[in-house]
Amino acid sequence: MKRTVGVGAMTILLCTGCSSMGVEPWERDVLAKQEMQLTTDEIEAATDDHIYFSKEASSGGRGFGGGGCGCN
């Protein structure tokens, strides 16, 4: 448990330290495409979250834990 938290915190710190990485504002054309968004299709993501919440013991990760139904 502590190890999970530690790895998580380190990943976040590592990324906030990456101030030299990235692109200039005019180089965001590819990143602006719909298919490059972190969640491309909201409904598909919500559907998968719901199915796997109902059939497995894990949930969430990308966003909130989901649930809110009597399926599990």
Binding site: T47, G60, F64, G68
Partner: protein, 435 residues
């Protein structure tokens, strides 16, 4: 003025403008009003094999954009569920009879067949609402609420998230919190934990309504690595309190040597269970930690989406999830997207195949396969295309397969030779339309 006369005004104006401005060649105007509303809709079919769960679902998300990047989002989902689900009782070489969760009737399962409870014909309605807006130049806040209702379950929830950009929007750090207040009113009433399954009409072991509260916290960071690569990492904490037991699931009470379910004597003229079953009992608390990482990589038009999640909780369940999607465009208007997902989890500390009568009753126990030891794989293909009026349609077909096993040290006597863990095979078909 006739149509022809009035139209000539714009022609004459164009000519006069040309004379005035000279040779500064301009292109023909291309202006379109952006619709205020954006819709994302879907039709879903989920079907497990045999007599097991089938679900039809209709979803819609409507988003309205206001000036300065403010959004209102409304979501609706309607689910219709039928089919049977494993009750937690093990299969036997003889027929078994069970009392339905309502307590009003009984059902039988043939010898050698995995006991499935088919009581669940349920409809669920879920609503969500959210508001998102910028805060200053570099931050964004969103708040939302959710509610869902099915026959035996009510969910109410609120959530909020704050995100801040750094490094010219290359780095975004976010923190979110969600609170759920759910209440259960199981068909027939929630049974007391570890109480026996009783005769039809006997509800003396029933408790009243139950509550369950969940707190979720998500901390995340996303980082643009290059023009073609963006990554994200999240840490999630989830704490559930209250009634976490499944009120419809049981465990078979078995003989400590043979592993066969103990028989039960029923009074003449009475309907009831043929064998002895105990309702399951789960802890009143659950704390989960997850870390999640995702990368999206653009390779000359194709996009690879890869993510990994590790989850660990105080029920001693550990899981790993790897999800891969690869989008391949065909021309400007179509794409194919194969999808692969690998999942594995270890069983909960209190997962039991059955309860042997030779041992003292454990603190908690559940035979719910969803808390067991299994691997799962999903393989699917999605096809998407742009319609004539510039909207998007898609269809995806996926197969989901779970294969698990019961830890060897839990198998007793005749159980060893049987196929104990209920494998799952399901097909998922989803149509999507965005406009």
């Amino acid at each position: 003025m006739s149509q022809k006369e009035t139209h000539s005004i714009s022609v004459a104006l164009a000519a006069a403008t040309c004379t005035l401005l000279g040779s500064g060649i301009s292109a023909t105007v291309d202006a379109q009003e952006e619709p205020a509303w954006d819709f994302n809709t879907s039709l879903l079919y989920y079907g497990e094999d045999g007599d097991r769960v089938k679900d039809f679902s209709v979803s819609a998300i409507a988003r309205r954009m206001f000036i300065d990047d403010r959004y209102l989002t409304l979501g609706l989902t309607i689910d219709g569920l039928t089919g049977a689900t494993p009750s937690g009782a093990i299969r036997q070489d003889v027929a078994q009879t069970f009392t339905r969760p309502s307590g009003n009737a009984a059902y039988s399962v043939a010898a050698g067949v995995l006991p499935l409870d088919d009581t669940f014909k349920d409809t669920r309605l879920a609503l969500t609402a959210g508001w998102q807006q910028p805060v200053g130049d570099t931050s964004q806040v969103s708040v939302g609420a959710s509610a869902s209702k099915e026959y035996d379950y009510l969910h109410l929830g609120v959530n909020a998230k704050f995100a801040r950009d750094f490094n010219q929007r290359n780095t975004t750090v976010s923190a979110g919190i969600a609170l759920s207040m759910d209440s259960l009113d199981p068909v027939g009433g929630a049974p007391a934990p570890f109480s026996p399954m009783l005769d039809v009409g006997d509800t003396s072991n029933r408790l009243g309504d139950q509550d369950k509260d969940v707190l979720d916290i998500v901390l995340g960071v996303s980082q643009v690595i290059s023009r073609d690569l963006v990554v994200q990492a999240n840490y999630s904490y989830s704490k559930s309190d209250g009634y976490l037991t499944d009120p419809y699931k049981v465990l078979s009470l078995v003989d400590g040597t043979s592993g066969d379910t103990l028989l039960r004597s029923i009074a003449p003229g009475v309907d009831g269970p043929s064998h002895q079953f105990l309702f399951e009992s789960r802890p009143g608390e659950r704390t989960k930690h997850s870390i999640f990482g995702q990368a999206k990589y653009y390779m000359n038009g194709k996009v690879l989406d890869a993510s990994y999640r590790y989850m660990s909780d105080d029920w001693e369940i550990d899981s790993h999830t790897v999800d891969l999607r690869y989008r391949i465009p065909f021309g400007a208007n179509r794409y194919l997207e194969p999808h692969l997902r690998f999942y594995t989890q270890t069983d909960a500390e209190f997962y039991r195949l059955s309860i042997p009568d030779s041992l003292p009753l454990p603190g908690h126990a559940s035979a719910d396969y969803r808390l067991g030891n299994f691997d799962a794989i999903t393989a699917g293909l999605k096809y998407g295309w742009r319609t004539r009026n510039d909207n998007e349609m898609s269809v995806r077909i996926e197969g989901y397969r779970q294969t698990g096993s019961v830890p060897a040290d839990q198998l007793i006597g005749n159980q060893v030779s049987r196929d104990n863990f209920p494998d799952l095979n399901a097909i998922i078909v989803q149509f999507g339309y965005r406009f």
